[in-house]
Point group: C2
């Protein structure tokens, strides 16, 4: 053992006796032999900084990628190292150092444990093969570098290498005496690295919404969430809602390229941000799962969306797709395979497919429904036996668009309303009110209905109505923009105008909520079940998780189920994407499900018109009916009679899926 | 039929009666119905200009790609059209025009008819499927554009589309009511075009030599050669011979990228040039076959060549490869699949494989040999039963390098020498002599040997030797550079120096020719056959086709076979590439052959040294032996005795394959 370097540790208690360990052992192993206490929170995989040391003297192995990522170039230069990554090359003196603050690793603690909570099988499809390949030697060789590498791999691995990898094979093979890690995704070689990098196998899941993008960096081996990133979709400047974005790029290749460039650079930035947070190398991201509605899916790939915006809103492709990041191109993660979940039909996109995966509705014994509320509301209903799906064109009212004081669910938005003798509002961030967001509008209308400020037809009561408390009477104003109900007086908001709900806002909400409601009812009717047979109604997506369930039932956005049957599911699309990332079983299940889900095209159903018109109404009686009950009066102007034709139905204009996502 | 447009022709004989034809019929069809004589040399495929017409009045279909390619934008604007490409959209008057001069089509006449001369099966692997796909219609669709297209294709076609094609699917599907041409290469979709483009299916074969590049554009349907292009390899500025080029790029990624950039831009330019010559669209080139020696093969793909230049000269990969042009990238032909023939071993590269295909040596009943003479000489020997191959490191002398007045085989190079009472030289282009090319040097030495100016050891006679005619005696000079033999006096060359062959030049030639000769002898010995059992020795490659067979045998560059057994095969590498282009049977045959050919590593054979030293000698006697015969003299200084060790053997220095190619 005398040729093996001796390692001495300099601790607070003084120098330890020198220890000698095998050449392949690390300084961490040596510390254990020497009885020096040293943490290895990550299990000695170079993934945390708990075993940080400084090498005071002696020769050590060159810094690994993990040394540099965890400690930074400066520390590495000053001979700081991760003990788990470092080998002594000559006699050394090493001193343990306090671990650095671990921004990357601490995020792990906050992870959602998908693997155990969703009962997920961890079979991401990405495998790392650590091999020692021979170099072709001798004059008589009739072989090549690639053949020597393939000889060390299972015979199921495909022979074909991406050109980018083939280019670096000769150098990689000869750098550490043939010690290589070959990474495969479903038997296809996606990376060749020098040395043993088997501890580093990462992936990302992206949910690309019209408004927001959510990305999650995960350890493919453990299912750990390493970093969460997200923000606004950088395309927003070219149209807040989906149809205006399609209109921007329609029949114009250059503008489509602009939209695509925005989303790609956004995703590239999110990848870099996540890798910096978690201190991992983006080159070791091998799988990226992307979900999004049909338009986002197509724009991300650069597919012409002209016809996605025109009836019958046909997608260019529904197949599940796998492209290399270089082909997309996603330059930030050059070795990744980018997987897109399949599209069911038209606007029932890959995001809905992800919700189906996340809710596991396909294995329910009872009938369940999932509803993703947004500019387009997707509804999936059914059970183990059969699933039906539709896309309901709600329009952008629920996102605050086309509402006089509408805004997104951000600081200053009214999100809840209480009406008693007077009105009280809850504002996001408890800030002065700036406007009303979608969930606030739903709540306001539900409470106005309860307080009899509006009736079942959505008609706003006259200001003079004696049926209202005086404070509420005062809040009903008639002006240039028609009748309105003031939620916050301008003095209280500190603004130059009152914040109110107008008669026109109520009409917009009626159109939007009826679309969602009608979608649910339509599927229920197609399945031939009663409301009480719907065992659970699951609200997916960021928006759905902010609305008041009681208020939503009150205004008939959701059908009148017992409240405890309606549940919040979080950002199911993002969770579904993560499941497909961690598990090929789940990703492949989506292929199968996409073919089995039956699409119900609402506009093509003759009965839809009647359902939609009925769905415009809120629950309860109209003022007219109330009056008729008391004194046989004529119908009030502005009320919509059941069965009437509504020409303002926004189907053709806003038949597009859209929603707000939040981090799950 | 009354709704069908009426077509009237205005000919020298006056207006014809109006004819009516089916909507899908062309003006060429109408002319035939009307009895108007109109040539269609290409068979109505838009490939020539013999059916040129001018449309005097009436509405016609938009110009096709072929209209524009054949007639140019200006003529198309003036309503000139190809009758075979044009449909009447309303009543028309059309006048036949004299065909334009046909630079593109005339090249066809000069074609090598590979299909019949080589008995080639035309199965290029590229298929055009003309389909009429439905667009997804109606609200109830649960389909997509791609699914509608796939439904019209054979089920064997792969579902996966390159992203570039997927991007344009929606637009293409809706342009001509679903009329599309889908092109596949071995069941993989490589192009989707609007309308029926089935007449246009092209490919290119490239032979990338160290010195020159030869490209051939071919019609994949007919095997016609449409254009030949070629020129110097633009990498030449980074080293004329192969080893200096490897040295340039060795362990330097940026310099490798420079070399690769040069070759790619060269090939891109050749593609454009060929398409302009033949007036076809480069987007309709679907297959490109590339052959070249191991170094050119690797550099073309951007593979690290560092170890190709170091013993044991292992290639990174020997497999036959297929990459998309976008991946390479070859931007000039974006839809092409680029196919590289396999490498046998080390320097027995894809070009040798192409020679094997072209000569069909693998099906010979008798033993044959093929020799590709260049900086590296590749030799393949054998028959139907078994083939052996080796690579002989000749060095650059045969290309004129390291020869005092050496030059390439270009204008002004001495290529043949006659010696009687005095010397007479034949110069390329019958121009004043500038220098000597390889074939000239071989011929000069053979004739000097015959005239007893040199002996079997390559020793140059003293100027005073009475055995020579006086004119020859005068041509032997001794100066600062050693002894030399003047071929052309400076006065005759119009230069400031004589053009001569030096003693050192002869030594260089001896090293070079012995390498080739030894390779042949080595394979002969490995196979255990006699010279007279070699049924045919086939000279492949540009250089081999310029040398004098008699002189090559005389100096023992080639073994002493009956002259009629040694044949010129033209640029067999280029022909082999063309065969693999036109026929997948041939391309796949190469896979099979590459695995069956046994590589003989010359330097690893202990007997090679002796063969090489013996091979240094020319045929006949040494002066010393002649003298011994007459008066028992001592061996002349400078002669190499059989069995001596030659330390100047250039194996390690110039172990690289190299040759000059000419158009086949």
């Amino acid at each position: 053992m005398d040729s093996v370097p001796a390692i001495t540790f300099s601790t607070a208690a003084g120098l330890t006796p020198a220890v000698r360990v095998q050449a392949e052992s690390t300084l961490l192993d040596a510390a254990r032999v020497a009885g020096v206490e040293m943490d290895a929170t990550c299990g000695g995989r170079g993934r945390c900084r708990s075993c940080r040391v400084k090498v005071l003297s002696g020769e050590i192995s060159p810094p690994t990628l993990q040394d540099t990522l965890q400690l930074g170039h400066d520390e590495v230069k000053e001979r700081f190292r991760l003990a788990c990554q470092t080998h002594a090359m000559s006699d050394c003196t090493v001193t343990p150092m306090p671990p650095k603050a671990e921004s990357g690793y601490q995020i792990l603690a906050g992870q959602v444990d998908l693997a155990s909570s969703a009962g997920l099988r961890l079979d991401c499809g990405v495998t790392k093969h650590v091999i020692t390949a021979k170099s072709p030697v001798g004059e008589h060789h009739q072989t090549s570098d690639v053949e020597e590498i393939l000889a060390c791999l299972p015979p199921t691995v495909e022979r074909r290498l991406p050109l980018e990898l083939l280019r670096k094979v000769p150098g990689a093979l000869r750098k550490q005496k043939g010690r290589l890690t070959v990474t495969t995704f479903n038997e296809e070689i996606v990376d060749i690295e020098v040395g043993d990098t088997s501890a580093h196998r990462y992936g990302m899941a992206f949910d690309i919404g019209t408004t927001s993008i959510v990305g999650t960096l995960m350890d493919l081996a453990t299912g750990e969430q390493l970093a969460a990133v997200g923000g606004l979709n950088p395309q927003a400047q070219y149209g807040g809602d989906l149809m205006s974005r399609i209109a921007y790029a329609q029949f114009d290749e250059a503008k489509l390229a602009t939209l695509r460039g925005k989303i790609l650079s956004g995703i590239n930035d999110f990848i870099k941000e996540a890798c910096e947070k978690a201190r991992i190398s983006a080159a070791q991201i091998y799988k990226i799962v992307v979900v999004g509605n049909t338009c986002m899916h197509h724009v991300f790939l650069g597919i012409d969306v002209s016809y996605v915006g025109l009836a019958p809103y046909a997608p260019a492709i529904r197949d599940p797709l796998v492209y290399s990041a270089r082909e997309i191109p996603l330059k930030a993660a050059p070795n990744a395979k980018v997987c897109l979940l399949p599209i069911v039909a038209g606007f029932v996109g890959a995001d809905t497919m992800a919700c189906v995966l996340a809710t596991r509705i396909y294995e329910s014994e009872e009938i369940r429904a999932l509803v993703d509320i947004g500019t387009n509301g997707e509804v999936v209903m059914g059970s183990k036996g059969k699933l039906f799906a539709c896309s309901a064109p709600a329009g952008p009212a629920l996102e605050g668009a086309q509402i006089r004081h509408g805004m997104r669910g951000a600081l200053g938005a009214i999100e809840r309303v209480e009406i008693g003798a007077d009105v009280a509002c809850k504002v996001i961030g408890d800030a002065p009110a700036i406007g009303i967001c979608g969930s606030g509008l739903i709540d306001a209308c539900a409470k106005m209905l309860e307080a009899s400020v509006i009736d079942a037809n959505g008609l706003l009561r006259r200001e003079s109505s004696a049926a209202l408390a005086p404070a509420l009477q005062r809040r009903i104003l008639s002006g240039e923009g028609g009748r309105q109900f003031v939620l916050v007086w301008k003095e209280d908001a500190g603004r130059d105008h009152d914040i109110s709900v107008t008669q026109a806002d109520i009409r917009q909400l009626q159109l939007a909520k009826s679309a969602i409601y009608s979608g649910i009812i339509m599927l229920r009717d197609v399945m031939g079940v009663r409301d009480d047979e719907i065992h659970e109604l699951m609200l997916c997506g960021g928006f759905g998780n902010y609305i008041s369930i009681e208020s939503s039932v009150k205004i008939r956005l959701l059908p009148e189920l017992p409240i405890d049957r309606i549940t919040y599911m979080g950002n199911a699309a993002a969770i579904g994407a993560q499941m497909a990332l961690l598990s090929e079983t789940e990703r492949l299940r989506a292929f199968d499900l996409a073919q089995k889900i039956e699409h119900v095209a609402l506009a093509a159903r003759p009965e839809f018109q009647a359902i939609f018109v009925d769905g415009m109404n809120f629950s309860g009686e109209s003022f007219a009916a109330q009056e008729r009950r008391t004194r046989n009066a004529a119908p009030a102007p502005g009320a919509i009679a059941a069965g009437a034709t509504v020409s303002a139905m926004p189907h053709a204009v806003v038949s597009a899926a859209d929603r707000r996502y939040v981090a799950s």
